[in-house]
Structures are given as structure tokens and as C-alpha cells.
Symmetry: C2
Subunit: 389 residues, 2 copies
């Protein structure tokens, strides 16, 4: 186990009707808020009205900025930064899923920064300050509600990049599973895969002696595997939605990374994929992750066998760890299929012609590689895309 620091001060406010405290919670941190949201869905569902009422009841002054799209855009972030400065905003309330929260985080960093906020994403700036933010979560997937990360897309230049910064952890996250009842099946499934991917990025590590976090990872994965098919059949099953929602936070609040080095190559490849093709992140991960696994599993057969046996209940073939490991990877792929996700690039219309674009775009480490479980080169990425064909 490696040395680590773990500090996650996001207050989780979880359960039925919790959106009613949005105003009171906001009041604790700011005098004037930016209410930030996506398309029209929170207006149609009535959530927008509830939040506005709650802010008014708590006498919180606010401005608003809607229109966040999936793969949130740098252009809107810049607009948000200008608006916040003009309006004297000192707190951002994000109402939505990961895209809205990430957009809010980028705005929060941009406001006090004396330059272009994109500097943080391209490695030109690393420290800074940020306005405090709060969240009313409507989509369990990204885990951004208590993570320190955000992912923004510069759509003009087709660049999707992430930035991690501890001051970006939201002060509070209001999580009412009822708000997720209306999520369409495809989006629910994409969220499930995104959550699983956050766990798996941490699970596949070369750090030795990480038993507790291994087991916590397995617990979180099993919960998603168990509950996702149920919620697809019963979209308004509160308890099942609640399991997925809370698991989504645990998957990405950094508890599961304590003392270990995560991989994150699949995420980087998927970001390159969805920057060049407007595919949902969870769907991209459903395609990339098993292909990555097939490319790297021989590097640590023991770990992939453990994954198969403990997470997927594969009966261990003691005479063939390799067959056991491969069966685990197949189960992941079958699971994705069973919940309606694509598992090949072909299904989303990407052929070999598109590979170059993806290989060009992924965010590399200093040495030009990506990933930690195995350091991958462009050649590896090409092979992974080939497997994912």
C-alpha cells in the first residue's frame, strides 16, 4: 500500500425531497449564486421551479446560465466566467449531471484566474483558486458531485481534456434518487458503465497489498451489476435507483484510490474517442474497456482472475487462470450488451479510418505514454482499437 492523503469534505445530502434544502445550503456559502444547468429537462420535470423556490425562500440572490450540453463545451465555460464576474457571483449551484457539474467546476476555476481557463487543461496552469460550488445531482454516472476532477471539451479544436484540483470538490451534493426516475434506459446504462469504469480504473493497479480497497471496489462493482438490470425494468424503483446513485459517488470520490495507483488509460482513450465523435462517455467506455483488458490482462493474470471470480462469480479454473481471466472480461462485455450498450466501434460507426484521429488526440503523460497498469504507446492504442473494432 502506498502512502496517501485522503480528504473529501463534500457534504452528501441524500434521499427523498432533499432538493428542498438547496437554498438553505447555498446560503451557507454564498451571497449571490449562479444557477447552472443543462437543457430543458429540469424545467420540464419541475425541478427548476423547486430550486428557484428554494433559493428565493432562503433569500439567495442568483443569476442563471443554462444550456450545458453533454461533453460540456469550453465556449459556455468562458461565457459563464464572464457572467460570474459581471454579476459578482460568489457561489455556483450546478443542477444536473456530470456535464453540468464539470462545466460549473471550470467556471469556478476561471473566475478568479487571471488568464484563459483552458490553461489548466493543457498544463499551462496547475494551481489556483476556485469559487465554492454545490450540486443537485440528476444523473448518477460521473461521480463529479464529490470528485476533484472535471472534463471539458474544446469543441472547435476537438479536444476533450480533464483537470484535477482539490478545491473543485463541491461543498455539498444533494442527491435524490427520485430525480433519476425519468432517466431514459440508454442514459441509465451509460451511467452504470461510467460508474463501473471509475472503479475499474482504480482496480487495475500494479500497487501490491491493497486488499481493503480491492474489496471495496468489488463491493461497488457488484452493486452496480446487481441493480442496473432491475432499474432498467423498473425505472421508478426507488431503492435500486438509490443504490446506483450512492455507488456512483463512492466510485469516484477517491476512497477507492487510497494507497494505490489507478490506470485511467481507458478513460483517456474514450475522451479522445468522444472528442472526435459525439458518443456518450459510458457507451465509449463499454467499447474501450474490454478491449483494453484483452490487450493487457497477461501483465497480471492474478488480478484479472480475481476480477473474474470475485466480481463476476466466474468459477475459478485452477488449471487455467487465463481462461478464468478471459471469462471475466467476456462477462463484462456481455453485461454491457445486456443493458443495451454498444461493445464495438463498428456499432457506433467508427471504422479503421477514424483510428488515427483517436490516437492523435489522447492525453499523454510526460513520457508520451498513457496509463499506469501498463504504459501504452500509440502502437498499443492502435492494437486496442483493433480489438474494439
Amino acid at each position: 500500500m502506498n502512502n496517501f492523503r485522503f480528504f473529501n469534505p463534500t457534504e452528501i445530502i441524500f434521499g427523498k425531497d432533499t432538493q428542498s434544502v438547496a437554498g438553505a445550503e447555498t446560503k451557507k456559502y454564498g451571497a449571490k449564486a449562479l444557477l447552472h444547468y443543462g437543457g430543458g429537462s429540469i424545467k420540464r420535470s419541475g425541478l427548476y421551479g423547486q430550486i428557484v423556490d428554494s433559493l428565493r425562500e432562503s433569500k439567495v440572490d442568483f443569476a442563471e446560465l443554462g444550456g450545458v450540453e453533454p461533453n460540456p463545451r469550453l465556449s459556455l465555460v468562458n461565457e459563464g466566467v464572464d457572467l460570474c464576474r459581471k454579476e459578482g457571483i460568489d457561489f455556483i449551484l450546478a443542477v444536473g449531471g456530470g456535464s453540468v457539474i464539470d462545466s460549473a467546476k471550470a467556471i469556478a476555476m476561471g473566475v478568479p484566474y487571471d488568464g484563459d481557463v483552458w490553461d489548466f487543461f493543457i498544463g499551462r496552469a496547475s494551481q489556483g483558486n476556485a469559487l465554492p460550488i454545490g450540486v443537485v445531482l440528476t444523473i448518477p454516472a460521473a461521480g463529479s458531485e464529490s470528485s476533484n476532477g472535471c472534463v471539458i471539451t474544446d469543441w472547435e479544436n476537438k479536444n476533450k481534456l480533464h483537470f484535477d484540483f482539490d478545491k473543485l470538490r463541491p461543498r455539498f451534493a444533494i442527491m435524490n434518487p427520485e430525480l433519476t426516475f425519468t432517466l431514459p434506459p440508454y442514459q441509465t446504462a451509460c451511467g452504470a458503465l461510467d460508474i463501473m469504469a471509475h472503479v475499474m480504473e482504480r482496480y487495475f493497479t500494479q500497487t501490491r497489498n491493497v486488499e481493503l480497497t480491492d474489496r471495496l471496489c468489488e463491493a461497488t462493482l457488484k452493486t452496480i451489476i446487481q441493480n442496473t438490470p432491475v432499474v432498467l425494468r423498473q425505472p421508478d424503483n426507488y431503492d435500486t435507483r438509490a443504490e446506483i446513485m450512492w455507488a456512483g459517488t463512492i466510485a469516484n470520490n477517491d476512497l477507492l484510490s487510497t494507497g494505490r495507483v489507478g490506470d485511467w488509460a481507458s478513460h483517456m482513450i474514450e475522451h479522445a474517442l468522444s472528442a472526435t465523435n459525439d458518443v456518450a462517455h459510458g457507451a465509449g467506455l463499454a467499447i474501450i474497456f474490454p478491449a483494453w483488458m484483452k490487450h493487457v490482462y497477461r501483465q497480471d493474470l492474478h488480478r484479472f482472475t480475481q476480477f473474474a471470480v470475485r466480481v463476476w462469480n466466474v468459477e475459478q479454473r485452477f488449471d487455467s487462470p487465463e481462461q478464468t481471466a478471459l471469462e471475466g472480461i467476456d462477462r463484462l462485455k456481455s453485461f454491457s450488451k445486456s443493458i443495451g450498450l454498444p461493445t464495438s466501434l463498428k456499432e457506433i460507426g467508427i471504422t479503421e479510418k477514424g483510428f488515427d484521429n483517436i490516437v492523435k488526440k489522447y492525453k499523454r503523460s510526460g513520457d508520451g505514454t498513457v496509463g499506469n497498469f501498463v504504459k501504452l504507446t500509440d502502437e498499443d492504442i492502435n492494437q486496442i482499437l483493433e480489438i474494439a473494432k
Copy 2:
């Protein structure tokens, strides 16, 4: 799953040599610290000198108060409160295990309180303020390093009572597994049982649909079961000590209680037991918990079967859940025995004559009962003690 709030802002600083940052961390929160510790062990081990050096390097002024005993005493707490007021202390640095931390927490509450700090424990006061505290942990067991609770004994009146208060969560917890290498086997085993008990108090619930937290509980229990025998054979096995230390925090930082009602009857009975007989808390729990289980398991055979199968790898007897459940309880008892703990009251010299004292002393809820999984009356407690004979 119930509605919940989860807020745990303790910064965990985990790993080798981390005690060296004690001074720098203390400096963030206070101008003058109380260095609070137990007997002479931290002086013998050299830790005391390291902490003092670290405080001096960071130019933190400090007073000190040693002498905390197991089952920490109200009398020393009162002494600490007076000392802090006299010296103008604004931060308490607890160096030790649960007893030292709990003593520090009680002092932290007592300083700003305009009355007897015992008021909080007997229900005469419930709100208040507290000095900030920090921890250098030397014994993984109580989980007090990031919990909101503390347990203090009024030794004159043989009363051991607990109080929970969110402002008591330490600001930071420095956790170096190397500091636990010298823990004697008996204390290591007591710690393991205490950690398991914190998980089991949360695990045995009547709240339905708590799959994620069930699985996180099972993950934590399995980690302790797997690592404790190893550490008893190899006391300076860093990674094994690390697993136990981190599991001890997770077990009691309230993550595992999110959305569910815990039981806590076994803890209340054990507190009464160790208030009247100076037995180690973990040893008391090793005796009480299986007896409690045998008394209540029929109330939810499903849950006890799950415990047996998932935590203890008992092969499920589909034709007899009861036998499966009982086998799980037996495995817990065998485990305690195997790590050198007593599993009957007789072994610690308590006979039926002592039962009355225990029954008189346990802390009751408003309705006079104790526990939530099953509400227990005095008659139940007598039966549990009878089983534990």
C-alpha cells in the same frame, strides 16, 4: 435505504513517516496546542520526541498532558479542561489510540462549555462547540480518529458513557502503520474485534435495501479476518498492519452507516461490562457479540445467513438457513478464540453475581430499551449474559 447526511472532513494522512508532518498540520489550526497522550509507551518508542521536534520545527507553542488510561477517565478530562483554559490552548493534538483521542475530544468539548462536561454524556447538554483536534494514531481499533463519537468513564461512579457530536471529528488523522508494529498480540487482537464490532453494529439492521453498504461492510470485515492472523505471526508486516489500520477508520467513519440504522446494543452492554470490570473493550465485544447474535438471529434469518455466507464463506445449506446462520456465528466465535481473545464471561472472571451490575449500568434509549435491530429489555440482557456465561 433511509435518507441520510454524510459529512466527514477529517483529512487522512496515511503511510510511512507521516508523523513528521504533525507540527505543520497542527500549525494550520491552532496557535497553542495541548499535546495529549497516554502512558509512557510513546516516550519509550521515540514517537514523543519526534512529535515534539515536529511541533518545534513548525514553531507551534504547546503544553502537554499525559497519563490517559484505557477506558479514559472523566477526572483527567476535567484536569485537561482546566489546563487548556489556563494555558490559552486552541488546538488539541492527541497522540495515541482511541482512549487518548476520546479524552482529547471530551476536553475539546469541555473548554468552551460553561458547565460540567459530563452533562453531554448524561444527556443534560447536547449542543455546543469544541476546540479543533488532530490525531497521531498508534492503535487501530476505536476508529475515533475520524469518528464523531467519544466514550468516557466516570470511574468513581462506574459509569462508561458515549457522546456523538459532529464537531468532534478530528481535522486530521496521521496514520503510520509502522507505529503499530510494537502493539502486543492481545491488544492487536482486541483492536481487530473492536473494528469488526463497529462494522457488525451497522451490518445488523432492519433497514431494507442497503446493498451497497452491506457489501462495503462485508469487504471491511473480510479484510480484518484475512489480515489479523497474519499480523499476529508477523507483527512488523507493514502491509498487513496498513490494511488493519485503514479498515479501522473505514469501519467507524460513518460511511458504512449511510442510509441505515445501526444496532449498537452489544456496544452498550460491553460499556456496562467494562465500566464495572476493567476488561479491554475488544475482549468484551468478543464475548458479548456472539451471545447477542444467538439471542436475536431468528429475527432476521436472511441477514444472518448472508453474514455467514458472504463474510465467513460458510457453504449455504439451502434446506436450513438456520444451520447456515448458526455456523456463521460459530465462525466469529472461533475466530476470536484463534486470535487469543476470551469468548465467555467465565474466562474474564465474571459470574452470574456480576450480571445485575451490568444490567443496571447500560445506557438505555428513551423507552428504557437498548438496540435497534431488536429492542432489548433488561430480561433480554440477562439472557444474553446467560448465553455468554
